[in-house]
Protein backbone atom coordinates (compact mmCIF):
# COMPACT_ATOMS: atom_id res chain seq x y z
CA UNK A 1 0.00 0.00 0.00
CA UNK A 2 1.33 3.45 -0.87
CA UNK A 3 0.84 6.64 1.18
CA UNK A 4 -2.39 7.55 -0.63
CA UNK A 5 -3.91 4.17 0.12
CA UNK A 6 -2.92 4.39 3.79
CA UNK A 7 -4.49 7.87 4.02
CA UNK A 8 -7.70 6.70 2.35
CA UNK A 9 -7.86 3.66 4.63
CA UNK A 10 -7.36 5.88 7.70
CA UNK A 11 -10.03 8.27 6.39
CA UNK A 12 -12.59 5.47 5.99
CA UNK A 13 -11.86 4.14 9.49
CA UNK A 14 -12.10 7.66 10.92
CA UNK A 15 -15.48 8.15 9.23
CA UNK A 16 -16.73 4.90 10.77
CA UNK A 17 -15.51 5.96 14.23
CA UNK A 18 -17.19 9.39 13.89
CA UNK A 19 -20.49 7.72 12.93
CA UNK A 20 -20.15 5.27 15.83
CA UNK A 21 -19.84 8.20 18.23
CA UNK A 22 -23.25 9.58 17.20
CA UNK A 23 -26.01 9.69 19.83
CA UNK A 24 -28.92 7.24 19.44
CA UNK A 25 -31.19 10.17 18.57
CA UNK A 26 -28.94 11.28 15.73
CA UNK A 27 -28.65 7.68 14.46
CA UNK A 28 -32.45 7.40 14.54
CA UNK A 29 -32.74 10.65 12.60
CA UNK A 30 -30.29 9.38 9.91
CA UNK A 31 -32.24 6.13 9.67
CA UNK A 32 -35.47 8.11 9.35
CA UNK A 33 -33.90 10.00 6.42
CA UNK A 34 -32.86 6.73 4.79
CA UNK A 35 -36.41 5.36 5.15
CA UNK A 36 -37.81 8.54 3.64
CA UNK A 37 -35.53 8.25 0.59
CA UNK A 38 -36.10 4.49 0.27
CA UNK A 39 -39.87 4.65 0.78
CA UNK A 40 -40.77 4.57 -2.97
CA UNK A 41 -38.48 1.54 -3.47
CA UNK A 42 -39.95 -0.16 -0.39
CA UNK A 43 -43.51 0.48 -1.58
CA UNK A 44 -42.68 -0.85 -5.05
CA UNK A 45 -41.00 -3.90 -3.51
CA UNK A 46 -44.03 -4.49 -1.29
CA UNK A 47 -46.37 -4.36 -4.31
CA UNK A 48 -44.15 -6.76 -6.33
CA UNK A 49 -43.82 -9.08 -3.34
CA UNK A 50 -47.63 -9.11 -2.97
CA UNK A 51 -48.07 -10.01 -6.64
CA UNK A 52 -45.48 -12.81 -6.39
CA UNK A 53 -47.23 -14.15 -3.29
CA UNK A 54 -50.56 -14.18 -5.15
CA UNK A 55 -48.94 -15.98 -8.09
CA UNK A 56 -47.36 -18.56 -5.75
CA UNK A 57 -50.73 -19.20 -4.14
CA UNK A 58 -52.20 -19.81 -7.59
CA UNK A 59 -49.53 -22.33 -8.61
CA UNK A 60 -50.01 -25.65 -6.83
CA UNK A 61 -48.62 -29.14 -7.32
CA UNK A 62 -50.83 -32.21 -7.68
CA UNK A 63 -50.03 -33.24 -4.09
CA UNK A 64 -51.02 -29.80 -2.80
CA UNK A 65 -54.26 -29.96 -4.80
CA UNK A 66 -55.06 -33.37 -3.29
CA UNK A 67 -54.41 -32.07 0.23
CA UNK A 68 -56.47 -28.98 -0.51
CA UNK A 69 -59.26 -31.11 -1.94
CA UNK A 70 -59.35 -33.29 1.18
CA UNK A 71 -59.35 -30.18 3.39
CA UNK A 72 -62.13 -28.62 1.31
CA UNK A 73 -64.26 -31.77 1.57
CA UNK A 74 -63.87 -31.75 5.33
CA UNK A 75 -64.64 -28.04 5.41
CA UNK A 76 -67.71 -28.63 3.23
CA UNK A 77 -69.07 -31.08 5.76
CA UNK A 78 -68.37 -28.67 8.57
CA UNK A 79 -70.09 -25.85 6.74
CA UNK A 80 -73.16 -27.97 6.08
CA UNK A 81 -73.41 -28.74 9.77
CA UNK A 82 -72.91 -25.09 10.68
CA UNK A 83 -75.50 -24.04 8.13
CA UNK A 84 -78.10 -26.29 9.69
CA UNK A 85 -77.48 -24.95 13.16
CA UNK A 86 -76.93 -21.23 12.70
CA UNK A 87 -76.48 -20.26 9.11
CA UNK A 88 -72.88 -19.72 8.13
CA UNK A 89 -73.65 -16.53 6.23
CA UNK A 90 -74.94 -14.89 9.37
CA UNK A 91 -71.86 -16.00 11.28
CA UNK A 92 -69.50 -14.70 8.66
CA UNK A 93 -71.37 -11.43 8.54
CA UNK A 94 -71.05 -11.06 12.30
CA UNK A 95 -67.33 -11.92 12.21
CA UNK A 96 -66.58 -9.39 9.50
CA UNK A 97 -68.69 -6.76 11.24
CA UNK A 98 -66.78 -7.39 14.48
CA UNK A 99 -63.46 -6.92 12.69
CA UNK A 100 -64.63 -3.71 11.04
CA UNK A 101 -66.11 -2.40 14.25
CA UNK A 102 -62.96 -3.12 16.25
CA UNK A 103 -61.69 0.37 15.66
CA UNK A 104 -64.94 1.88 16.97
CA UNK A 105 -65.26 -0.54 19.86
CA UNK A 106 -61.71 -0.16 21.01
CA UNK A 107 -60.98 2.02 24.01
CA UNK A 108 -57.99 3.43 22.11
CA UNK A 109 -57.66 5.90 19.27
CA UNK A 110 -56.38 3.66 16.48
CA UNK A 111 -54.67 4.41 13.19
CA UNK A 112 -54.92 1.58 10.62
CA UNK A 113 -51.63 0.58 8.95
CA UNK A 114 -50.34 -2.06 6.57
CA UNK A 115 -47.19 -4.11 6.87
CA UNK A 116 -44.75 -3.11 4.10
CA UNK A 117 -42.03 -5.66 4.89
CA UNK A 118 -40.80 -7.66 7.86
CA UNK A 119 -37.90 -9.52 9.39
CA UNK A 120 -35.19 -8.29 7.06
CA UNK A 121 -32.36 -8.94 9.51
CA UNK A 122 -31.06 -12.08 11.19
CA UNK A 123 -30.99 -10.88 14.78
CA UNK A 124 -34.01 -8.63 15.24
CA UNK A 125 -37.74 -9.19 14.79
CA UNK A 126 -39.00 -6.04 13.18
CA UNK A 127 -41.50 -4.99 10.52
CA UNK A 128 -42.08 -1.83 8.54
CA UNK A 129 -45.53 -0.20 8.38
CA UNK A 130 -46.84 2.34 5.88
CA UNK A 131 -47.49 5.09 8.45
CA UNK A 132 -45.11 7.69 9.85
CA UNK A 133 -44.93 11.15 11.38
CA UNK A 134 -46.93 12.38 8.38
CA UNK A 135 -49.88 10.58 9.99
CA UNK A 136 -48.93 11.61 13.57
CA UNK A 137 -47.15 8.35 14.41
CA UNK A 138 -44.45 8.79 17.03
CA UNK A 139 -41.70 6.56 18.43
CA UNK A 140 -42.67 4.05 21.14
CA UNK A 141 -46.34 3.82 20.20
CA UNK A 142 -48.02 0.43 20.70
CA UNK A 143 -49.16 -1.49 17.62
CA UNK A 144 -51.92 -4.10 17.84
CA UNK A 145 -54.54 -6.11 15.96
CA UNK A 146 -57.99 -7.24 17.05
CA UNK A 147 -56.27 -10.37 18.49
CA UNK A 148 -53.70 -8.63 20.67
CA UNK A 149 -50.42 -6.75 20.94
CA UNK A 150 -48.06 -6.82 17.94
CA UNK A 151 -45.23 -4.55 19.10
CA UNK A 152 -44.23 -0.91 19.19
CA UNK A 153 -42.76 1.67 16.86
CA UNK A 154 -39.04 2.46 17.11
CA UNK A 155 -37.85 4.60 14.18
CA UNK A 156 -40.44 6.83 12.49
CA UNK A 157 -40.05 8.43 9.08
CA UNK A 158 -42.58 10.56 7.13
CA UNK A 159 -44.61 7.71 5.61
CA UNK A 160 -42.95 4.57 6.97
CA UNK A 161 -42.04 3.36 10.46
CA UNK A 162 -40.07 0.48 11.90
CA UNK A 163 -41.93 -1.58 14.46
CA UNK A 164 -40.26 -3.84 17.04
CA UNK A 165 -42.32 -7.02 17.23
CA UNK A 166 -43.42 -8.62 20.48
CA UNK A 167 -41.44 -11.73 19.43
CA UNK A 168 -38.12 -9.83 19.76
CA UNK A 169 -36.06 -10.35 22.92
CA UNK A 170 -35.74 -6.56 23.28
CA UNK A 171 -39.52 -5.98 23.31
CA UNK A 172 -40.19 -6.34 27.02
CA UNK A 173 -43.74 -5.89 28.25
CA UNK A 174 -45.05 -5.76 31.83
CA UNK A 175 -47.70 -8.49 31.87
CA UNK A 176 -50.27 -9.93 34.25
CA UNK A 177 -51.99 -13.30 34.26
CA UNK A 178 -55.79 -13.21 34.14
CA UNK A 179 -57.54 -14.18 37.39
CA UNK A 180 -54.34 -14.02 39.50
CA UNK A 181 -52.07 -11.41 41.06
CA UNK A 182 -49.13 -12.72 39.06
CA UNK A 183 -47.16 -10.14 37.13
CA UNK A 184 -43.96 -10.52 35.16
CA UNK A 185 -42.00 -9.34 32.15
CA UNK A 186 -42.91 -10.86 28.81
CA UNK A 187 -40.35 -10.98 26.01
CA UNK A 188 -39.56 -12.85 22.81
CA UNK A 189 -36.61 -15.02 21.87
CA UNK A 190 -33.14 -13.96 20.78
CA UNK A 191 -33.30 -15.94 17.54
CA UNK A 192 -36.56 -17.42 16.32
CA UNK A 193 -36.86 -20.52 14.17
CA UNK A 194 -40.27 -19.55 12.78
CA UNK A 195 -42.54 -16.56 12.27
CA UNK A 196 -44.54 -17.08 15.47
CA UNK A 197 -42.12 -18.16 18.19
CA UNK A 198 -43.18 -18.74 21.77
CA UNK A 199 -42.77 -15.92 24.29
CA UNK A 200 -41.45 -16.18 27.83
CA UNK A 201 -42.97 -14.56 30.93
CA UNK A 202 -40.20 -14.13 33.52
CA UNK A 203 -39.98 -12.97 37.15
CA UNK A 204 -43.16 -14.72 38.32
CA UNK A 205 -43.50 -16.19 41.81
CA UNK A 206 -41.90 -19.62 41.74
CA UNK A 207 -44.91 -20.96 43.69
CA UNK A 208 -47.46 -19.42 41.33
CA UNK A 209 -50.34 -21.73 40.46
CA UNK A 210 -50.47 -21.08 36.73
CA UNK A 211 -52.22 -23.50 34.44
CA UNK A 212 -52.02 -23.92 30.66
CA UNK A 213 -54.76 -21.92 28.94
CA UNK A 214 -54.66 -18.92 31.31
CA UNK A 215 -54.71 -15.63 29.42
CA UNK A 216 -51.94 -13.03 29.69
CA UNK A 217 -52.60 -9.28 29.29
CA UNK A 218 -50.50 -6.12 29.43
CA UNK A 219 -50.23 -4.87 33.02
CA UNK A 220 -50.05 -1.18 32.06
CA UNK A 221 -47.66 -0.06 34.78
CA UNK A 222 -47.28 3.72 35.12
CA UNK A 223 -44.96 5.30 32.58
CA UNK A 224 -45.00 2.18 30.39
CA UNK A 225 -45.42 2.22 26.62
CA UNK A 226 -48.29 -0.26 26.60
CA UNK A 227 -51.71 0.47 28.14
CA UNK A 228 -53.32 -2.15 30.39
CA UNK A 229 -55.60 -4.89 29.16
CA UNK A 230 -54.21 -5.70 25.70
CA UNK A 231 -54.16 -9.49 25.11
CA UNK A 232 -50.64 -10.91 24.82
CA UNK A 233 -51.18 -14.65 24.68
CA UNK A 234 -52.07 -17.83 26.48
CA UNK A 235 -49.92 -19.76 28.97
CA UNK A 236 -48.64 -23.01 27.50
CA UNK A 237 -46.35 -24.19 30.28
CA UNK A 238 -45.12 -23.03 33.69
CA UNK A 239 -41.82 -24.00 35.30
CA UNK A 240 -40.40 -23.05 38.69
CA UNK A 241 -36.75 -21.96 38.57
CA UNK A 242 -34.27 -21.46 41.40
CA UNK A 243 -35.35 -17.90 42.22
CA UNK A 244 -38.47 -17.24 40.17
CA UNK A 245 -41.07 -18.84 37.93
CA UNK A 246 -41.14 -18.76 34.15
CA UNK A 247 -44.11 -19.33 31.86
CA UNK A 248 -44.01 -20.16 28.18
CA UNK A 249 -46.68 -18.12 26.39
CA UNK A 250 -48.23 -18.70 22.99
CA UNK A 251 -48.76 -15.30 21.32
CA UNK A 252 -52.34 -14.12 20.84
CA UNK A 253 -51.42 -12.77 17.41
CA UNK A 254 -50.47 -15.07 14.53
CA UNK A 255 -47.30 -13.28 13.41
CA UNK A 256 -47.06 -15.40 10.26
CA UNK A 257 -50.28 -13.84 8.94
CA UNK A 258 -49.68 -10.24 9.84
CA UNK A 259 -51.00 -7.82 7.19
CA UNK A 260 -53.13 -5.12 8.78
CA UNK A 261 -52.38 -3.55 12.16
CA UNK A 262 -53.44 -0.53 14.23
CA UNK A 263 -51.14 2.05 15.81
CA UNK A 264 -52.42 3.16 19.22
CA UNK A 265 -52.45 6.97 19.35
CA UNK A 266 -53.80 7.39 22.85
CA UNK A 267 -57.15 6.84 24.56
CA UNK A 268 -60.49 7.96 23.14
Amino acid sequence: MNKLHVSLFAGAVLLAVILLSFSSERMRSWQSGYLRVSNPALQAGSAISGQVEKLQKGLKTLDELEVENAALLAQNNELRAASQLLGDLENENKRLRAALDYRERSAFKLLPAEIVSRDASSWWNTAKINRGFGQDVDTAQPVLTADGLVGRTTTVSKDVSIMLLLTDENCQVAARVEGTNEQGILSGQRVAGNATPELVLNFLNRDANLQPGMKVFTAGVSGAVFPAGIPLGVIKEFRARELDGQAVVEPAVDFSKLDDVFVVQGSK
Binding site: A16, G45, K128, V191
Partner: protein
Amino acid sequence: MIRAILLFAAVYAALIAQEFVPPVPFLGGAHLILVPALFCYGALWLSFPAMLGLAVFTGLLSDLAFLHVIGDRVEIGLGWSILFYVLAGTALQPLRPVFLEGRWEIHCLASGAVTLMLLLSQYTMVCLRRGSFLFDGTIFWHLVGPAVFALLVAPLVYFFFSLLPAGEPARRASRRGGGLTR
Protein backbone atom coordinates in the same frame (compact mmCIF):
# COMPACT_ATOMS: atom_id res chain seq x y z
CA MET B 1 -17.36 2.24 -15.47
CA ILE B 2 -20.79 0.76 -16.28
CA ARG B 3 -19.90 -2.32 -14.24
CA ALA B 4 -18.78 -0.20 -11.28
CA ILE B 5 -21.95 1.94 -11.34
CA LEU B 6 -24.12 -1.15 -11.60
CA LEU B 7 -22.25 -2.72 -8.69
CA PHE B 8 -23.09 0.25 -6.45
CA ALA B 9 -26.72 0.18 -7.68
CA ALA B 10 -26.90 -3.58 -7.13
CA VAL B 11 -25.83 -3.19 -3.50
CA TYR B 12 -28.71 -0.76 -2.87
CA ALA B 13 -31.16 -2.95 -4.82
CA ALA B 14 -30.03 -6.01 -2.84
CA LEU B 15 -30.65 -4.18 0.45
CA ILE B 16 -34.20 -3.36 -0.64
CA ALA B 17 -34.78 -6.88 -2.07
CA GLN B 18 -33.61 -8.47 1.21
CA GLU B 19 -36.60 -6.84 2.91
CA PHE B 20 -38.94 -9.03 0.88
CA VAL B 21 -37.08 -12.34 0.92
CA PRO B 22 -38.89 -14.52 3.46
CA PRO B 23 -36.94 -16.58 6.01
CA VAL B 24 -36.06 -20.11 4.89
CA PRO B 25 -37.87 -22.67 7.11
CA PHE B 26 -35.46 -25.56 6.45
CA LEU B 27 -32.51 -23.35 7.48
CA GLY B 28 -33.99 -22.72 10.94
CA GLY B 29 -35.80 -19.60 9.70
CA ALA B 30 -32.52 -18.00 8.57
CA HIS B 31 -32.59 -14.86 6.43
CA LEU B 32 -30.71 -14.90 3.14
CA ILE B 33 -28.43 -11.95 2.54
CA LEU B 34 -27.11 -10.90 -0.86
CA VAL B 35 -25.01 -7.83 -0.06
CA PRO B 36 -21.74 -9.52 1.07
CA ALA B 37 -21.52 -11.52 -2.18
CA LEU B 38 -21.88 -8.29 -4.19
CA PHE B 39 -19.37 -6.47 -1.99
CA CYS B 40 -16.83 -9.30 -2.32
CA TYR B 41 -17.06 -9.06 -6.11
CA GLY B 42 -16.32 -5.33 -5.86
CA ALA B 43 -13.53 -5.86 -3.32
CA LEU B 44 -11.81 -8.31 -5.69
CA TRP B 45 -12.49 -6.40 -8.90
CA LEU B 46 -12.14 -2.70 -7.98
CA SER B 47 -8.92 -0.82 -7.25
CA PHE B 48 -8.11 -0.08 -3.61
CA PRO B 49 -9.56 3.49 -3.51
CA ALA B 50 -12.73 2.39 -5.34
CA MET B 51 -13.04 -0.63 -3.02
CA LEU B 52 -12.90 1.74 -0.02
CA GLY B 53 -15.67 3.81 -1.62
CA LEU B 54 -17.78 0.69 -2.06
CA ALA B 55 -17.06 -0.39 1.53
CA VAL B 56 -18.21 2.97 2.92
CA PHE B 57 -21.31 2.95 0.67
CA THR B 58 -22.23 -0.66 1.52
CA GLY B 59 -21.52 -0.28 5.24
CA LEU B 60 -23.44 2.97 5.61
CA LEU B 61 -26.52 1.72 3.75
CA SER B 62 -26.48 -1.65 5.59
CA ASP B 63 -26.35 0.11 8.94
CA LEU B 64 -29.11 2.54 8.01
CA ALA B 65 -31.31 -0.28 6.73
CA PHE B 66 -30.94 -2.52 9.78
CA LEU B 67 -30.12 -0.11 12.61
CA HIS B 68 -31.88 -1.26 15.77
CA VAL B 69 -32.61 1.68 18.07
CA ILE B 70 -34.75 1.04 21.13
CA GLY B 71 -35.22 4.06 23.35
CA ASP B 72 -31.70 5.42 23.78
CA ARG B 73 -30.02 2.04 23.19
CA VAL B 74 -28.38 0.99 19.91
CA GLU B 75 -27.20 -2.62 19.67
CA ILE B 76 -24.92 -2.22 16.65
CA GLY B 77 -24.10 1.40 16.01
CA LEU B 78 -24.09 3.33 12.75
CA GLY B 79 -20.60 3.01 11.23
CA TRP B 80 -19.83 -0.47 12.46
CA SER B 81 -20.54 -2.11 9.09
CA ILE B 82 -18.28 0.45 7.36
CA LEU B 83 -15.47 -0.71 9.62
CA PHE B 84 -16.26 -4.36 8.84
CA TYR B 85 -16.41 -3.90 5.06
CA VAL B 86 -13.26 -1.73 4.98
CA LEU B 87 -11.32 -4.44 6.86
CA ALA B 88 -12.82 -7.29 4.80
CA GLY B 89 -12.12 -5.46 1.53
CA THR B 90 -8.55 -4.67 2.55
CA ALA B 91 -8.00 -8.33 3.45
CA LEU B 92 -9.33 -9.42 0.02
CA GLN B 93 -7.29 -6.94 -2.06
CA PRO B 94 -4.08 -9.07 -2.17
CA LEU B 95 -6.15 -11.76 -3.96
CA ARG B 96 -7.21 -9.29 -6.67
CA PRO B 97 -4.47 -10.13 -9.23
CA VAL B 98 -5.37 -13.83 -9.08
CA PHE B 99 -9.11 -13.03 -9.30
CA LEU B 100 -8.57 -10.80 -12.35
CA GLU B 101 -6.89 -13.75 -14.08
CA GLY B 102 -10.28 -15.47 -13.98
CA ARG B 103 -10.19 -17.43 -10.72
CA TRP B 104 -13.91 -17.06 -9.93
CA GLU B 105 -13.79 -19.58 -7.07
CA ILE B 106 -11.93 -17.00 -4.96
CA HIS B 107 -15.06 -14.84 -5.07
CA CYS B 108 -17.19 -17.84 -4.06
CA LEU B 109 -15.10 -18.67 -1.01
CA ALA B 110 -14.71 -14.99 -0.05
CA SER B 111 -18.51 -14.46 -0.23
CA GLY B 112 -19.17 -17.40 2.10
CA ALA B 113 -16.42 -16.40 4.52
CA VAL B 114 -17.34 -12.68 4.63
CA THR B 115 -21.05 -13.48 5.14
CA LEU B 116 -20.20 -15.86 8.00
CA MET B 117 -17.81 -13.36 9.60
CA LEU B 118 -20.36 -10.54 9.27
CA LEU B 119 -23.14 -12.53 10.95
CA LEU B 120 -20.83 -13.99 13.59
CA SER B 121 -19.52 -10.56 14.56
CA GLN B 122 -23.07 -9.12 14.61
CA TYR B 123 -24.30 -11.96 16.82
CA THR B 124 -21.31 -11.60 19.17
CA MET B 125 -22.08 -7.89 19.57
CA VAL B 126 -25.78 -8.59 20.19
CA CYS B 127 -24.83 -11.14 22.88
CA LEU B 128 -22.35 -8.76 24.51
CA ARG B 129 -25.00 -6.02 24.60
CA ARG B 130 -27.62 -8.36 26.10
CA GLY B 131 -25.19 -9.83 28.62
CA SER B 132 -25.52 -13.53 27.80
CA PHE B 133 -24.29 -15.85 25.09
CA LEU B 134 -26.73 -18.43 23.70
CA PHE B 135 -25.97 -21.01 21.05
CA ASP B 136 -28.26 -23.69 19.64
CA GLY B 137 -29.22 -25.30 16.33
CA THR B 138 -31.38 -22.35 15.25
CA ILE B 139 -28.56 -19.87 15.83
CA PHE B 140 -26.11 -22.19 14.03
CA TRP B 141 -28.33 -22.14 10.92
CA HIS B 142 -28.84 -18.38 11.18
CA LEU B 143 -25.04 -18.09 10.88
CA VAL B 144 -24.19 -20.89 8.46
CA GLY B 145 -27.32 -20.87 6.24
CA PRO B 146 -26.77 -17.39 4.72
CA ALA B 147 -23.03 -18.16 4.31
CA VAL B 148 -23.81 -21.32 2.32
CA PHE B 149 -26.35 -19.36 0.27
CA ALA B 150 -23.71 -16.67 -0.46
CA LEU B 151 -21.29 -19.41 -1.55
CA LEU B 152 -23.89 -20.76 -3.97
CA VAL B 153 -25.11 -17.43 -5.32
CA ALA B 154 -21.58 -15.99 -5.84
CA PRO B 155 -21.02 -17.67 -9.26
CA LEU B 156 -24.24 -16.05 -10.50
CA VAL B 157 -23.00 -12.64 -9.33
CA TYR B 158 -19.64 -13.29 -11.05
CA PHE B 159 -21.36 -14.45 -14.25
CA PHE B 160 -23.73 -11.45 -14.31
CA PHE B 161 -20.97 -8.87 -13.88
CA SER B 162 -18.61 -10.62 -16.30
CA LEU B 163 -21.23 -10.04 -19.02
CA LEU B 164 -20.91 -6.28 -18.55
CA PRO B 165 -18.13 -4.18 -20.09
CA ALA B 166 -15.23 -3.93 -17.62
CA GLY B 167 -13.74 -0.65 -18.87
CA GLU B 168 -10.16 0.05 -19.98
CA PRO B 169 -8.57 0.57 -16.50
CA ALA B 170 -9.80 -2.83 -15.27
CA ARG B 171 -8.61 -4.56 -18.46
CA ARG B 172 -5.17 -2.95 -18.05
CA ALA B 173 -5.09 -4.01 -14.39
CA SER B 174 -5.98 -7.53 -15.44
CA ARG B 175 -3.11 -7.62 -17.98
CA ARG B 176 -0.66 -6.24 -15.38
CA GLY B 177 -1.95 -8.53 -12.65
CA GLY B 178 -3.67 -5.97 -10.44
CA GLY B 179 -1.59 -2.95 -11.36
CA LEU B 180 -4.14 -0.45 -10.07
CA THR B 181 -3.48 -1.43 -6.51
CA ARG B 182 0.23 -0.65 -6.72
